[in-house]
Structure formats: structure tokens, C-alpha cells
């Protein structure tokens, strides 16, 4: 018999500290697998943000830099501008990217920085125990929206992929989830497409992963996935919001057509 699935070399052998059933672990793995499969691990630099995955640099086998809360896209800009042939990605949660780091992500995309942002949307601040995030759903109970998010004084969820895809500098934006085999394989395709967009220098790329947070949602891991499918997907429809039809085979010609 042959091995058809085994742990990837793209990850170190340090066990994840994430809660049972948290999708961060799946996302880490498909990014790591993609780096190995695409042969780019040796020239990738990851930028960790602040949140549950503040130390994801201990899990990815590539070089990595830890950034201040919300500033990963700026750190990545500084890195990529100097290492033009390297692959640079940020790994950020919704508090990091959509709250304190909004300016950084918007301007990195607007500048068309040739970096990739992996954005994990789990509708709460995980690390600091479940506060409301910009992506918290209306009516969703969190430690800072204990009566359920009320638009009248806590405003509305932010659809980041739709927002970023409006920026010309953004070449590829897709929202995926990890609730089953098909979705995980699709998410992995999105990860690799984002890396390809970066390699081809087409501009900024971002993959938004809807992700569970069993601990702070107060739900069993499987039940949390149901809630994600039932409640989060309607607010955050899956799909490609920019760069659906990038034809990597003949990029040169594609530009001529558009030009």
C-alpha cells in the first residue's frame, strides 16, 4: 500500500496549541502543503499577526516575522519590497485585519503589493476570549456584545472580501470555508492560486477563510461547523470576488487583450 495522505514537511513537528476543532489547524496545513507542493517553501517568508496565531511562525517551516497587531500587511510590504523574488504572505484574524489593521490591508491592496493575505474570519476575537469583532454577526452574542450584536449601537458586520475586491490593486480575492472535504480542497486551490498570482506579479491577493471558534462560540466542534454553514455563510457568501478568470497559461496575451 502507498501512503496517500501524511503530515506535511511544510509544518514543523511542534504540536498546535489551538483549541480542539479549531480550523486554524486545517488552514495552516493547506498553506504548508501548498508551499511544499509548489516548491516555494525555501523562499517564502510568513508574517504572523497578533491573535491565536501569534506564534504560527513556530508551526510553518519557512522563515517568518511576527508583526504588531494589525500591521502585518505593512511588515509584509517592507519584506517583499526587498525580496522581490520571494513569496511573502500574512496570516491574520478578523480582529487583526478588519479592525485595528484596516488601513494596512486596504492600502497594501490599493498599492497592489505583490503579497498574499490569508485572512481567517471566525467572527470573534479568539485569543482574548471571544470579544465582538468587525465580522461578528448581527444578534451574535460575544463577551462584548452580551445581548447579541445590535446594529443600532454596534453597527454592521464588515464583508472584507467584497471591500478589498473593489480595489484595483487587488488581483485575486476569494472567500472559502473548511467545513468538509470538498470545501477544504477548494480552499487549498484558492491558496495555491493566491501564491500563483503573487508569483506572476499580478498584484495583491487575499483568501478569506470562514473558520470556526468552538471555544468562544460555546459550541462543540461539529456543531460549530453547522452554525458556520447556517449563519456565517449567508452573511459572508463563498466565492471568488476578484480574479475569477486569470488565465495563467497565457498571461502576456491576456494583458494585450485587456490593454
Amino acid at each position: 500500500m502507498a501512503v496517500v495522505f501524511e503530515p506535511t514537511k511544510g509544518l514543523t513537528d511542534k504540536p498546535f496549541h489551538y483549541c480542539p476543532g479549531c480550523h486554524h489547524g486545517i488552514i495552516h496545513r493547506i498553506i504548508a502543503e501548498s508551499m511544499v507542493e509548489m516548491g516555494i517553501l525555501e523562499k517564502t517568508v510568513a508574517v504572523a499577526s497578533v491573535g491565536c496565531t501569534y506564534n504560527c511562525y513556530e508551526y510553518f517551516s519557512c522563515d517568518a516575522v511576527q508583526a504588531a497587531h494589525g500591521r502585518a500587511p505593512a511588515v509584509a510590504t517592507g519584506i517583499k519590497r526587498n525580496l522581490k523574488d520571494n513569496i511573502v504572505f500574512t496570516y491574520q484574524g478578523d480582529g487583526d485585519l478588519a479592525s485595528i489593521g484596516t488601513a494596512e490591508i486596504v492600502h497594501a491592496a490599493a498599492r497592489g503589493e505583490k503579497i498574499t493575505a490569508f485572512f481567517v474570519n471566525n467572527a470573534v476575537y479568539g485569543m482574548t476570549s471571544g470579544q465582538m469583532a468587525p465580522t461578528t454577526l448581527l444578534g451574535q452574542v460575544t463577551t462584548t456584545s452580551p445581548f447579541g450584536r445590535d446594529a443600532s449601537y454596534q453597527g454592521y458586520p464588515i464583508n472584507v472580501s467584497e471591500l478589498i475586491s473593489q480595489l484595483t490593486g487587488a488581483a485575486y480575492v476569494e472567500r472559502v470555508c473548511l467545513t468538509d472535504f470538498k470545501n477544504i480542497q477548494n480552499a487549498k486551490k484558492a491558496v495555491q492560486k493566491a501564491f500563483k498570482v503573487q508569483q506572476a506579479g499580478l498584484g495583491f491577493s487575499m483568501v478569506e477563510f470562514l473558520s470556526t471558534c468552538p471555544t468562544n462560540w460555546g459550541k462543540e466542534p461539529v456543531e460549530a461547523m453547522e452554525w458556520l454553514k447556517e449563519k456565517m455563510i449567508p452573511q459572508y457568501p463563498l466565492g471568488c470576488y476578484k480574479g475569477q478568470d486569470i488565465d495563467f497559461a497565457n498571461l502576456g496575451k491576456a494583458e494585450e487583450k485587456e490593454g
Binding site: N55, V75, H107, R111
Partner: protein, 358 residues
């Protein structure tokens, strides 16, 4: 441009010096009175194939600096007081992750939006660490456009050598003034290997991580001890200052940068009045020249110190710490962007000389 003297504006000389020091990254944001640094970089950095980004904010700019430094590149940013306040978190991260970088603060009057005229009111922020945690920046205060050139080039060597942020603390006067500068044919660039940089493994056996977080308190304490040892070494080896006529001075002035220039004339005028005045001019504000000030305080000829600053008095505390109460330390300062006139300082000197000290 080598060798011959060129009339140039302070802010532009800083940018030219950085390029000559091999800096190929500038990340900045517009703010008076330092914007010419950015204008110069917007053209010249791009022309030589370096990286120039006008960031969306100073907060982003300092984090771009953090990124470029983490990748092993020489990098600079410049701003003025309010902008430097926005960069304090990033500067603390740079200290924690031990990254080499140069930041220029062309100080303007504060607090708040304050004014756009010169000040030295960021002394405490620069030397005591404006961000969180126990850390230091190496802070250099040039007093002429020629020094802006030479000390900016030096700043990059020091940053790489000690893996820390070196701050050039100027002020609006220095940045906006034009003086002749003599450029060297070749710059004394000390290139240092950076095996720790996160630039892609490219076959390297272990992956590099640049970080400032250590959840384990023992690890973080060990890291802090390492930093403190580095700072102690710097305090013993990198102090720079200038001394005038302390050996027979009755009153010793302590002043840096723009103020020290005004005081030089005051010393001449006082001499004509028969009052012997000397001066100690710190060039590095951290590490602070405590030793020479203490030695001056021990001299019988020295009766008192007069600290002159463009602030409500910040460096004066370090002077008092150095003098350890041996002699009285008086203070004279202007704020809001006003500069003290020679007469104001001379009146103060005469007061102290005649024992009518304020």
C-alpha cells in the same frame, strides 16, 4: 559631489547621507518640518533602484521599516514629533526583535498638534523610550548640517552593529537650514553579516524567525537581560560629546544641537565680560555623557551649571543626575517654537555669576 563643499538643506543632507550609507529603503509620511527628507528620497531612492513607499500612516511606515529590517536590509524613516509618537509601538517592537533601523525625528513644538517651529521637547520620548517596555534607542543629536551628514552615515553602522534603532534627533531649525557640506569620496560603511534575517531559507537548515514575543517569563526575562547588557556596553563605548573651556570655566552650559550653537556665541560674549563660561554638548543623548559632566562638577573652578533647552527642561534632569548635587544646576528654556536669544542666556549667566540666581 565628493570632496567639494555643497550648500544644502539639512533635511536633504539626511536623505543624501542615508543613500550614501547604502540605505535602499525609505518608508515615510508627510509632516512639516521634515518633508524634504521624503521629497529627496521620492526622487533619488527611486532613481538608484531602492524602495520608496509613502505609507498610509506613520504607524504603517514604521512597520514597513520593521519588515525591511527583518529581511536584513538597511532601512530608514523620518518624521516629526506627532508622527514619531505614532511610531512608538513599532519602535518598541524593533527594540524587542533587535532589528537595525534608523529613524529621524525633526522635532517640532508640542504637545498635541502644537506648532511647526523647532523644539527639543521630544528628548524624554527619544531617550527614555516612548514605547512600552525596558528598551533604549541610540539617540544622536547633530548640531550642524555637516554633522547631520556624518552622523546619519554613522547611524546606519551603529544600527547594524548593535541591532537596534538609532534615532537622529534634529529640530525644525536644523532640518530647514542650509549650510555648506563637504562630502567624502567614500563612505565608511561597515557591512555586517545578518544570519538571523528572515529572507527565505534557500537551503538553510533551520527556519529563521524574527519576533519579540516570549510567552515564557523566564525566556522573556533572559531576553531583557541580553538587551540590558547590550545597552550597558553601549553606555561604556558609544558616548559622544564635545567640551569647550570646561578646564577654567566658572559656569558650564549643557546644551545640544541648535541650542548649543546659540550658546557658543554666549560663551564669547561672557568672556568679554570677564565671566568664564564653558560648555558640554552631548552628541549622543543616549548614551548620555554623564561622566564628563560629573568630572566637570568635581572641578573647583566650576561653580554651577546652566542647562539650556528648547523645552520646559528635560535633559536638565539627566544633567542633575550626573552632577549628583555637587553643584547647582540651573535651567533656561524656550518653548512653542521660539529660540532663546543670546541676550536672554547671557542675562541668566550674569545672574548666576552674581549670585542673583533665579
Amino acid at each position: 559631489m565628493a570632496g567639494k563643499r555643497v550648500l544644502m538643506k539639512g533635511n536633504e543632507v539626511i536623505a543624501e547621507a542615508a543613500l550614501r550609507a547604502g540605505c535602499r529603503n525609505y518608508f515615510g509620511y508627510p509632516i512639516t518640518p521634515q518633508t524634504e527628507v521624503m521629497h529627496y528620497m521620492a526622487k533619488k531612492m527611486v532613481q538608484i533602484g531602492g524602495n520608496f513607499v509613502q505609507a498610509e500612516s506613520e504607524v504603517s511606515a514604521i512597520n514597513m521599516v520593521y519588515g525591511a529590517a527583518a529581511a536584513g536590509a538597511r532601512v530608514m524613516t523620518s518624521s516629526s514629533s506627532p508622527g514619531i509618537s505614532l511610531k512608538q509601538e513599532g519602535i518598541s517592537y524593533i527594540a524587542g526583535a533587535e532589528l537595525p533601523a534608523v529613524a529621524v525625528n525633526i522635532v517640532r513644538a508640542g504637545p498635541g498638534l502644537g506648532g511647526i517651529l523647532p523644539s527639543q521637547g521630544d528628548y524624554w520620548q527619544a531617550t527614555k523610550g516612548g514605547g512600552h517596555g525596558d528598551y533604549r534607542n541610540l539617540v544622536i543629536a547633530p548640531a550642524s548640517v555637516q554633522e547631520l551628514y556624518e552622523l546619519t552615515v554613522e547611524a546606519f553602522n551603529l544600527a547594524d552593529k548593535y541591532r537596534m534603532l538609532v534615532m537622529i534627533l534634529g529640530d525644525g531649525t536644523l532640518g530647514q537650514m542650509m549650510e555648506p557640506v563637504a562630502f567624502r569620496d567614500e563612505e565608511p560603511i561597515e557591512t555586517i553579516e545578518k544570519p538571523w534575517a528572515a529572507c527565505g531559507r534557500n537551503g538553510r537548515e533551520k527556519h529563521n524567525t524574527v519576533t519579540s514575543i516570549y510567552i515564557d517569563p523566564d525566556e522573556l526575562e533572559a531576553k531583557n537581560r541580553e538587551l540590558q547588557e547590550k545597552y550597558k556596553y553601549i553606555e561604556e563605548h558609544e558616548v559622544r560629546y564635545e567640551e569647550y573651556g570646561v578646564e577654567d570655566a566658572e559656569i558650564v552650559i549643557t546644551a545640544f544641537s541648535t541650542c548649543s550653537r546659540i550658546c557658543k556665541n554666549v560663551i564669547k560674549q561672557a568672556a568679554e565680560m570677564g565671566i568664564k563660561v564653558g560648555m558640554i554638548r552631548p552628541i549622543t543623548l543616549w548614551p548620555f555623557p554623564s561622566k564628563p559632566i560629573y568630572e566637570a562638577a568635581c572641578r573647583d573652578n566650576v561653580k554651577a551649571f546652566l542647562d539650556v533647552e528648547l523645552s520646559a527642561g528635560q535633559m536638565v534632569e539627566d544633567v542633575r543626575l550626573a552632577v549628583t548635587g555637587k553643584k547647582p544646576v540651573y535651567f533656561y528654556g524656550r518653548m512653542g517654537g521660539n529660540l532663546p536669544t543670546q541676550k536672554e542666556i547671557l542675562d541668566k549667566i550674569v545672574e548666576i555669576h552674581e549670585g542673583r540666581n533665579a
